[in-house]
Each structure stands twice: as structure tokens, then as C-alpha cells.
Amino acid sequence: MRDKHLVLIVALFSVLLLTPSLLIAQNGSAGAPPAKPYTTPRTPWGEPDLQGTFSNRTITPFERPANVSGREYFTPDEVAAMEKSAAGRNGDEGRTRGTRGDVERAYNDFWWDRGTKVTTLRTSLVVDPPDGRVPALTEEARKRQADEAKRPAFRGAGANGRGTDTWLDRSTFERCITRGLPGAMSPTAYNNNYRITQSPGYVAIQIEMLGGTRIIPTDGRQHVSSSIRQWMGHSTGRWEGDTLVIETTNFTDKILYRGAAENLQLTERIRRVGQDELEYRVTITDPTTFTRPWTLAIPFINTGEDMFEYACHEGNYGMEGILSGAREEERKAAEARKGSPR
């Protein structure tokens, strides 16, 4: 039994070492002789060509689950079980009627597009720290979070600001503004599509969820003045070999990413690891929030599909429903207080 496991582990690591892209191996070249190292194609003007339409949907967990603690990779059997479960799911499993969770999941999986594949054998999208978990918050950040909880209307930017006094209490995602960074580059329940286009000295990343396009200059320019603060920060890019490296700073304090805001600094690395796959890595640094920098690695898989517009404000009845729902609940509560004997 132990030998069997050893063979499996050796086989698994051989696959990982020999093929630059696991997915391509699965899709066709499995069994073929070891391919030549992948050569990134060039644009007509000689820069590495990252262009295409990609999706980062995946069922790979964001953080490493406790039941695979200490393991960097799933076994093929585990992956098969996860993918089978994801493909067969229609949204009714584990749902109890009359609960918040049941309401939140709305209809069945037809509505969602979060994928049915792991897209990487890794047990988490967090690849550093080595335990696959987001590092602890600093004491300063914990104190800040506690203060924000006392002022629910302060920021509607993150998990803490879920009040209903005003639309400002709601997240910038619900408000159709942006998911910020690296939120906008991370997979969510649907619309996980991205289109990359390039021109000499520029890379553009169009994001389907909530819309918007990141324009990243690669001409060596510096960041704008630190007094200029933006929802998506300010990005500058450069090529290191075949890898696009994007440095982003100058974030606003109006949006939170896991407790981090204006002091957030991101280093993203994007490279093509095969004809149909990009490797996207982002290192998240904020010494005022996280006890150490940490890194996500997310595969971006070529979809061959079109992008669609997501004009989020077109009919955001949801916001109206959330706020008017809260007013109605307050009215009922006030009535109940009036009616109840003292």
C-alpha cells in the first residue's frame, strides 16, 4: 500500500516537472514524448505575447483546507472526487430551507459559473506562506478592524462594512464600483473572464466582472505622485524575460482587501506557460496589515470565448431591495416595540 502511494507521488511530481502546463497535458499531449520547453510567442514588435481571452474559474480552494494540511498537492484521486462532485452538483446539496445560506445560494448551479475543474493540483491558491494560509493580521490591523466594526457606515468596502443604513455601507462589489485589487483578478462565482491585449509599451487587461480595463504601461515610467489615490491603485509594468511584472501602489482608503487599504502594494507576475494557459502570481505586501507578504498563484486558462459586457448598474434592483428591506424590518421592529406591553 505504502509502495503504491510512493509510485503515485513520484508519478505526480514527474508530471509536474516534465510539463509546463498540467492542463495541456490533460488535454492532448499526454503520452507524447517530453515536449521542448515552451517558447513564449512574440508580438510583431518583439514583446512576449500574452494576448487572449482567459478564465480563472477554479474549484481549487483559496486557502489550504485543514484536511489536507501539510500537503502542497492533491492526489489525482482527490481531484477526481472533487471534480465529480462539482460536475454533479446542482445547488441543492447541504442546503437547509429557511436559512440565510439557502437564500444566499439562490437558485441552482445553472446561475453560477465557478467552474468544475481544479485547474491546478495545488491544495490552495495561496502558495506562500508554505502552509497555504493567509498570514495573520498585525496587531494594528486587528485593532483597526475592531474600530471599524463600531462604525459600520465608515467603509462599505469589505466584510466588516455590511450595515444597511446607506448604500455606502455596502461593499464596492454590491455598489457596482469595483472589486479592487487583487480582488478583480481573483475568481468569484461567475463572469471570471479576462481579455489581454497589447500594443507597443502597453498591456491592457479587460475584466468582465463589474467591467473595467487595466491599462499597464511597460515603458519604464514611474508611479504618479503618492497624493493620487485610486480604486485600482496605480500600476506600472516591465518585462523580466518572458514575464510581465506589474507593480501597483497608490490605493485609496475607500476599499479594503482583507483588512488592507491605502498601504497595499502588489507585485503581479504573468507569464504564458503554454499555448492555452497563463500563470498569474500576485504578492501582497502591507506591513501595516499582514505579518508577512503572501502570494497567490492562479491559472488563467484560454477560453476561446468572447467577453460580454457587465453593465452592473443597468438594473441593480438588489441594492434598492437590500436598503428598503432594512427600512421595512426597522418599521416592523418599531411597531412591535410599540405594541408590546411594558
Partner: protein
């Protein structure tokens, strides 16, 4: 032995499935009331094919014969389009049953936990794949 392993894997898969429960771009639980389950039967009036979510408008005949107009919040059009659905896929007059939760604000709005045709078939559950009518994953489609 094998049964033990499979159970472990299944548990792992289920845990992952639950922890990765999808979220809409806004909180459905903030908009609709878990304490107000509702069942509606009526006919489709129109489908509002809009972002961030589609809405199915339907007429519901009450026991006294009066007709009430209801709105049911659905998925995002981008995903539905990729699943092969179009604005006119659910024609006017189609009879449907909705089992869902009523809006907290007291209006005639609800989310559809389950939407079925009157013969019991689930709406948008036409294949063994993702639930899409023609997603290519159902062997019978090949």
C-alpha cells in the same frame, strides 16, 4: 479499505463544495427573507434581460381570482448566455412554479430557490452536466 478512502474523499469534496459556496455580486440574504418562504404558480409575462441579474416577471392568480404581478431574481445574463439561454428562451405565457423567499421590503419580489415547470421538470436543468440545456457535457448531446 476502499470504502474508507472513498468516504474520506467524499467528505473532503463536500467540505470543499460547501466552503466554496458561490456568492452573487450582492447579498441575496440581505434582500430576501429566510423567514418568509413563498410558493408561487403563474405565467411568465417577460424576462428582464439585464445586469447584474435577470428578473422573471410573472402573473400569479390568487384564490379570489385577482392577478398579482411578481418579479423573480435570476442569474446574470452573461452566464445564462454562455449556457445557451436567450432572452426569449422562456416565452410569455409559460406556466412555472416558484419556490423561494419573499423580499424583505414587502414588495412582490422573490428569489427562486427552485423554479419548475408544472410537470415537475426543473427549469434550466436539462442535462447531467452543469444543469445547462446544451453544455456539451451530457453524453446524449454527442
Amino acid at each position: 479499505m476502499n470504502i474508507g478512502i472513498n468516504r474520506g474523499l467524499l467528505t473532503a469534496a463536500l467540505l470543499l463544495a460547501i466552503s466554496a459556496a458561490p456568492r452573487a455580486h450582492h447579498s441575496f440574504a440581505a434582500e430576501f427573507d429566510a423567514n418568509q418562504p413563498i410558493q408561487l404558480r403563474g405565467t411568465v409575462v417577460r424576462v428582464e434581460w439585464i445586469n447584474p441579474h435577470t428578473w422573471i416577471h410573472m402573473d400569479v392568480k390568487k384564490p379570489d381570482g385577482a392577478v398579482e404581478r411578481w418579479m423573480i431574481e435570476g442569474g446574470t445574463p452573461n452566464t445564462l448566455l454562455r449556457r445557451g439561454l436567450k432572452k426569449d428562451s422562456l416565452p410569455q405565457g409559460t406556466e412555472i412554479m416558484v419556490d423561494g423567499y419573499k423580499a424583505k421590503n414587502g414588495s412582490n419580489r422573490a428569489n427562486g430557490r427552485d423554479i419548475t415547470f408544472t410537470d415537475g421538470r426543473k427549469l434550466f436543468l436539462g442535462s447531467s452536466g452543469t444543469g445547462a440545456p446544451r453544455d456539451g457535457r451530457d453524453a446524449s448531446e454527442k
